[in-house]
């Protein structure tokens, strides 16, 4: 049974309306200021640290993102902490808000499909996040130029652009999570709490738990422990479990992209190190290859979460 017309009819209208709602909302302004202030603080710390360093570094500009100075964490850790918050803040009431305002059935009585509404909401949220992150990125690059005084090389620019793209993808994952729970729960407060709870669990508890669970699945081998090494099976299991969390995927991707000396994101066997010049930077293409599975993993999880929400939304009753 085919439906008439395109599922995307009216999607542009929905995107523009949602985008203007986001950009004019008080919530967005608060989130933006939070991100900008926190990022500036991290950047300030990084620049102080970089100024104290006299050693030669071919990737000085990338240090802006990764260097931290006590007590402040690095720009990257701030971002990985705040981007999910922004995404959840934008998405937690997107669908149930329409129910609660009782606008959903009126909008769906117009000649559009539900698809257009949901896609439009997701794209508008992603566009809003992208606009904020691009602004933030430009701000960091500009401040870096001014305060360090050394222009970034082409490869540094390339790597930081990839970092920007990966961050937007990561934001998309959390936007999908928020959208899913805004479909499942009719109450916006419940949706926000559940989404934040999941974010806390995945970001802070799961990495710790992954180690414990891995040891339960593959017990530590005392022979390796005696030598002070990780048991390979346990380490692999731990990596596998940890990578179920998008925040692990994001952290690994960022390490590979922003630190050119990263050669592998998992356990390294001695055989793999044969002929390697340790500490030598990899070309940008190789770094991207290392981070590729993680990036694809993030894109895939965003799509899967969105599809789950999509299916639930299609089957939901529109009456409030």
């Amino acid at each position: 049974m085919r439906r008439e017309g395109s599922a995307f009819q009216g999607i542009g209208v929905v995107v523009l309306k949602e985008l203007s709602d986001h950009l004019t909302s008080v919530r967005m302004r608060v989130l933006e200021w939070l991100v900008v202030l926190v990022a500036l603080a991290a950047l300030y710390g990084a620049i102080q640290q970089i100024k104290d360093t006299t050693a030669e570094d071919p990737f000085l500009f990338l240090r802006l993102f990764t260097t931290s100075r006590d007590p402040l964490p690095s720009f990257v850790s701030f971002i990985s902490f705040l981007v999910p918050l922004m995404a959840i803040g934008l998405g937690f009431d997107s669908v149930n808000g329409e129910y609660n305002r009782r606008t959903l059935s009126r909008i769906l009585a117009q000649p559009i499909y539900r698809d257009a509404l949901l896609f439009g909401k997701f794209l508008a949220g992603l566009a809003t996040l992208a606009i904020s992150l691009i602004t933030l990125w430009l701000l960091v690059m500009g401040l870096g130029l001014l305060l360090i005084g050394i222009p970034p090389g082409a490869e540094e620019i390339g790597r930081s652009v990839i970092f920007l793209v990966v961050t937007i993808i990561y934001a998309g994952v959390w936007l999908s999570v928020a959208l899913l729970f805004s479909i499942v729960f009719r109450s916006a407060a419940t949706a926000a709490l559940v989404t934040l709870g999941i974010w806390l669990f995945i970001t802070f508890i799961w990495p710790v738990l992954a180690g414990a669970v891995a040891q339960a699945i593959v017990p530590l081998d005392p022979r390796y422990t005696a030598l002070g090494l990780q048991t390979p099976g346990t380490a692999e299991a731990e990596h596998f479990l940890a990578r179920l969390s998008p925040s692990t995927l994001f952290a690994e991707t960022v390490v590979a992209i922003l630190d050119p000396t990263t050669r592998s994101l998992g356990p390294i066997y001695l055989s793999q190190l044969q002929g390697a010049v340790l500490g030598a930077p990899l070309p940008i293409g190789e770094s991207v290859l290392i981070a590729w599975p993680q990036t694809v993993g993030m894109i895939a999880s965003a799509i899967v979460l969105f599809v789950i929400g999509y299916v639930i939304f299609q089957r939901q009753e529109v009456r409030a």
């Binding site: 049974m1 085919r2 439906r3 008439e4 017309g5 009819q9 009216g10 209208v13 929905v14 309306k17 709602d21 305002r101 009782r102 606008t103 059935s105 009126r106 909008i107 769906l108 009585a109 117009q110 000649p111 559009i112 499909y113 009753e317 529109v318 009456r319 409030a320």
Partner: protein, 323 residues
């Protein structure tokens, strides 16, 4: 019969084991005001949602303007305006901006958009509030804004779900006046309500819902004759010697009842107002009031279910399911 705009045939909606709408059939003609009446949870809103393709049809079929809402929802929704039960708008936007968003979704060009929006707001008396935020609107104003949306859309059918619920009498009569305006333009109106007597005055025909079925269908007068056992009740206020006796002699009058000082009530099998007036004038009396009592939907409804206690039980059962 090309003037049929909505035709339902054995329409059924099941939620698991519960049946919300049970094999209903009805048709609505062009320019007709058709009332779906009945208690909350009788299946009125579900019927409307099936009509718009917003919920799946379990069995049977419905054609709206010749389209099947399940397969061609866009064609249906382009031509049908819908005012949901307690309609909501984006509070932070102005009335005109809310309509602009809908107009864009419908796909109106920019030039015709502004024209249609101001014309529609004018029609419902909200022209002065076009640039006010909807958050400041009263309930009646929101309902009128919802009607403006339907007007702007240029819909051929207006589906109004509980348009008068929660409105004060003044707002209700304003709303009913706008609804009569639809009819004047040849727009068919499908009206759902649980307040029988409020909408009785505007509906050409009504379908009384109970437990997912249409218990009764027809014009209010027809139903009155059918259920209340036929007969017209004519009230008359006049003086004149021996008026009661003279009125009783009019052919068709079965009884005369004195209900007050110079107030009489005639029971007849047809509308005897012309003859009654002639009698009063003929006896040199002074005629102060003459009117035929419209059968009240409430009375019809109650009488119908008095005679069918089983169905009323079923109705209550159905209401519980829907709640």
């Amino acid at each position: 019969m090309s003037d049929i705009v909505i035709e339902a045939n054995g329409l059924t909606k099941k939620y698991g084991a519960a049946t919300a709408v049970d094999r209903i059939s009805f048709s609505v003609g062009r320019g007709e005001i058709f009332g779906l009446l009945g208690p909350n949870g009788a299946g009125k809103t579900t019927t409307i949602l099936m009509m718009l393709g917003l919920t799946d049809i379990s069995d049977g079929g419905i054609r709206v303007l010749g389209f099947d809402p399940a397969r061609e929802p866009l064609s249906v929704k382009r031509r049908v305006g819908y005012l949901p039960d307690t309609v909501g708008f984006y509070d932070q936007l102005t009335a005109a901006d809310n309509l602009r968003y809908t107009a864009r979704l419908i796909g109106f060009k920019k030039a015709e958009r502004e024209e249609k929006i101001s014309a529609a707001l004018d029609r419902v008396g909200l022209a002065d509030f076009a640039d006010k935020r909807v958050s400041t609107f009263s309930r009646g104003m929101r309902q009128r804004l919802g009607l403006a949306e339907i007007l702007m859309k240029g819909a051929q059918i207006a589906i109004l779900d509980e348009p008068t619920s929660g409105l004060d009498p003044h707002a209700t009569s304003e709303l009913l006046a706008i609804i009569r305006g639809f009819k004047a333009e040849g727009v068919s109106v499908l009206l759902s309500s649980h307040l029988l007597e409020r909408v009785q005055s505007v509906c050409d025909r009504v379908a009384l819902f109970s437990a997912g079925r249409i218990a009764l269908m027809g014009s209010v007068a027809e139903l009155g004759r059918e259920i209340l056992g036929g007969g017209f009740v004519v009230d008359i206020e006049a003086d004149g010697a021996g008026l009661a006796e003279r009125l009783a002699l009019i052919p068709g009058v079965s009884g005369v009842e004195r209900i007050g000082i110079s107030k009489l009530r005639l029971h007849a099998d047809r509308d005897v107002r012309p003859e009654a007036a002639a009698e009063v004038v003929g006896s040199q009396g002074r005629l102060r009031y003459l009117g035929v009592q419209e059968p009240s939907l409430d009375a019809i409804y109650n009488r119908y279910f008095e005679n069918r206690p089983n169905e009323e039980l079923a109705m209550k059962d159905g209401a519980r399911h829907a709640a």
